[in-house]
Symmetry: D2
Subunit: 335 residues, 4 copies
């Protein structure tokens, strides 16, 4: 039984507590939050959980094996560092840290002590992303042309991070997991429409050495919610609509066909539009699978799919994207 | 009765012929096309129309008042110039011309002779765009934050123009009509996934002197068709989904609310999510209204909403966008 | 070349004229209508077509081979009878006639003279219905359980027929074509909400000797338009949504699974939910195919898929449904 | 603090436990179920709750104030009766009981002892139904013409009740709450497609003394899930799509218009199609509000919106519908 302590019972914390309580291999011993109302809510729901406004009671509890950090990004680094130093495994919400340096220090600390860091890039554990990954691994889609993600809604303005760090980070993680290749350059354009606040609207392009291109449209100020990713390949094309409860994934047998006319010099472009298949996708909550994965990694010492090292890569990209925004979208090389 | 001759009976030509035939103030006397099969189709449908493979028979026909040009973009300029020189009013498909210079010559020629040029930016004549324009004119939406357009589908590869010139041009026209202000800079990223072909995927950002930003996602290689424009304003937000037959326009009473906490230094951001209204939109075919508008402009000498001058502005933007694509998205100033 | 005369240029007439003009084997010589405005519209569109307010000019024209009747139902019988007596092939809009007797007389008349009658049950010629038919013929779906159709919208109130005769008739035709078996009993409930008008809302159930059941929900007073048919079978299930432009047909690999528990007396019911396939459906306009089919039947003497005899069966069912409505839904046997 | 014991931790039980735990005025002391695996799940989630396989431990617990019954319908009556006799307030899942007589006995027992019975017709507590009720109360919709509900999906086959008792009962409750008038007759057609099982497909019509008609399409064997209610009125029409997360309710300013022509004898029917409004609906979970309402009723002695008496009315209708099914849809009078 892995005993967890959860720091932060705000927006995402309750989902973490619920899944750590539901899993038969884990339990939540303590929850901390600065807001007493949140602690009361937690206590009402789970009378068995101890609540506190001092996170140190979690970090110093020798019965707690893992610390789950669901607080604003700026606090990820100090909290995770304290937890690691106290010998705890760490589950951190995404994005991992505010800077590359912070991430590197945490990685070193964990490695030194043989502790596990998992960064909660939940999307990687969804049935849909897992299915796309297997389609790619089985070479069913062909060469990939583009990745086009729209991730918009009337979202909570974050205090400390902009819409890129909040939403586009999901796509950075999915791209990393699905294609495993590093972009060559990044260009990002962002706007803040509320004085003194971080960017609420951003458009990011990731350019790769081959012809592949990825684009992300992230927006906290959209009246409608869209969570749609298109993946265009030369054999098939995939649409992942996360809001469609029953047909999240659609695989189109469509593409471009090159015909050679009698006159050999003239190539005709035609279209192949064929059937569409919506494969059955497991409906397990991704977070549930991720909790089991975390337990497995803690026990075996294996690196999580979304390890600290992977989370650090994401922070590297986010920092570069933020830099491009300041230069009004100038493309920046990635070394 | 305005007598028209139509050059080009390919993809769009039949719609033009049908609308010029349906209108009681216009008639089509002749249609030309290089493909005999297209002429046979035209003749079968409209035995009263004369068909020819030589466009000069249209331009030289003294009974023809207006020449409608629905041919590949590269031929717009020479055909329009001949038509103007023959004293004909001209209806040209969008985009107007291939270069700014061509457009300027046509404009001069038309002005010199007192002839009307209309560029067929059809979207301007849709009930939805007209409705948005009136909402803006009546100050119902508040300050505009962003314009976000997704215009993707499995489209016909054009031989002579890229996806920007084919699809993004619609948004350039809508932006010009709705907001009437000139962007300060433009950044465009594009990819061609078929060797030797123009860009089939492009992302364009138009930056303005105020905080307004416009973004266009144009793609000929998408498995799904999307035609959606979001317009985010501080009082209301608009979604224009052109594929929704019954609720093309949705107006959301949603936005950001700034609250001042007791502690005066702390500003809280909240959301206002309210009712959504889908106003009734006239369902008249835009092309029908545009034909009437053309007749009116020819008779009165008034400039069309989508005049040659307006079409020239669009070509200017397109050329600049193409230039930015070559520089991998580098933002270019617009003077 | 089959020369047609079209009686009635109201709602559906223009579609018929357009398709008879587009087809290279047919042409429209004359169109008649009682409303001069409709004739003007027709003449403007097709200067080559003669228009008249006297349908007899069509029936008496020796150059006309086929008469197309697109008038209110009550006039189908007298017009078709005159046309047959004049030796013309006949295309009649659905429903065929107002009474069974009328249909029988027309059938006799056509048979006696070797003339073709086609009743325009257009749905039979759609790619979707043709695809479902082939799935059934190939035994891909298994035993059929139910047919459930919702056919509602804010529709034109017909003067002479109720919503059953206007909308449910489509399902009667599709059921007849797909399953080819006769219902054993029919029950229909209908309501008129506008005084002195025919029923605008109706619910019909067709019960068969085996366990199959068909149900139709037809409504002229719905704020939303729905055109959806579910076909539940034991191996697969089909959804035909006629308003979905790209995925009209969805085939679900879902159904009931019977498991036998260890305890042999206990049968467990489980569900199989599998992939969904949206097969590519030809997008040809059904009316176009129907015109070609009509020409073929006239030339060869073959009976159309939607022959007069088939149309008569539909009228028989409609009459019985109307009778059940008067008895507040009492189930009536079909002999 | 109201102390609850929950009997049954199957499909719905966990939702009840969660809401009774979340509410600050209630708590769950004990949960019983016959399946040890369910009890383990409950215990893992809520270590503070006592679990047992003997419901009597709940009924005999003097610290428990209310017994929540979430078991198969057949057991509602004996369990509720025991609970009432032990002086407990009772929350019963819908439908209330298997027979009218059972319901009457429970009502008497509760009245005699001054105890509260609530029947969990959850829909009554949804924001959408509450909003429709207020629109009706404010006379905004006009005279109601019809209620048309489609409630279909690939549902769990119930062992003891058919699809009417499982799904159509929701509409019976909504109709009762919204319109408060008694139907004059009921007609129901049902089919069982799995040998030895209750009906899985049913169509019910409720006819009223005025022209109002209600129809319900309930199906456990549909490949797609639909939860849509249309309410047609003469001034406005309402669509309640429970699966639409953001626009559950749409109010159409559409209807029939009667025009009188110059010729006074001729009445023309036209359509008024106007704007559509999707009002903001509170997104609180209905069950949460219902728990608060239950606490309020227990404390004040007020009758719940979905009292035992109301639940009994529903059982009466269900029994009559079942009788009509046996007569193949024959309409049965309601006294």
């Amino acid at each position: 039984m892995l005993n967890a302590g959860v720091i932060g019972y705000g927006y995402w914390g309750p989902n973490l507590v619920r899944n750590f309580m539901d899993c038969e291999h884990t339990s939540v011993k303590k929850v901390s939050d600065l807001d007493p109302a949140r602690l009361t809510l937690c206590k009402t729901r789970y009378p068995s959980i101890q609540t506190t406004n001092d996170y140190r009671e979690i970090i110093n509890d020798s019965e707690i094996d893992a610390v789950v950090i669901a607080t604003p990004v700026a606090s990820h680094y100090p909290l995770a560092l304290e937890a690691l130093k106290a010998g705890k495994h760490v589950w951190v919400e995404k994005p991992f840290t505010s800077t590359v340096e912070q991430g590197e220090i945490l990685l070193n600390e964990a490695e030194k002590r043989g502790l596990t860091i998992i960064v909660d890039h939940t999307f990687i554990y969804t049935g849909a992303v897992q299915k796309i990954k297997s389609l790619l691994d089985e070479k069913q889609l062909g060469n990939v042309y583009y990745y086009d993600s729209v991730r918009i809604n009337l979202g909570l303005f974050q205090h400390d991070v902009d819409v890129l760090w909040d939403l586009a980070v999901h796509d950075f993680a999915i791209l990393h997991y699905l294609f495993g290749k590093k972009p060559a350059a990044i260009s990002a354009i962002g706007k803040s429409h509320v004085a003194g606040r971080p960017e609420n609207t951003a458009f990011v392009s990731l350019m790769y050495d081959d012809n592949f291109i990825a684009h992300i449209n992230a927006n906290w100020l959209s009246p409608v919610k869209v969570r749609q990713i298109l993946i265009g390949c030369d054999r098939k094309m995939v649409v992942f609509n996360d809001l469609d409860q029953t047909e999240k994934l659609k695989i189109y047998d469509s593409g471009v066909v090159l015909n050679t006319k009698d006159n050999i010099n003239e190539t005709l472009l035609g279209y192949r539009t064929g059937d569409m298949l919506a494969p059955k996708i497991p409906t397990t909550e991704a977070l549930k699978d991720e909790v089991y994965h975390f337990v497995h990694c803690v026990e075996t010492g294996e690196a999580p799919l979304t390890s600290g090292a992977m989370g650090l890569e994401m922070v590297r990209l986010l920092c570069l994207a933020s830099k491009s925004i300041k230069q009004r979208g100038a493309p920046l090389e990635i070394k």
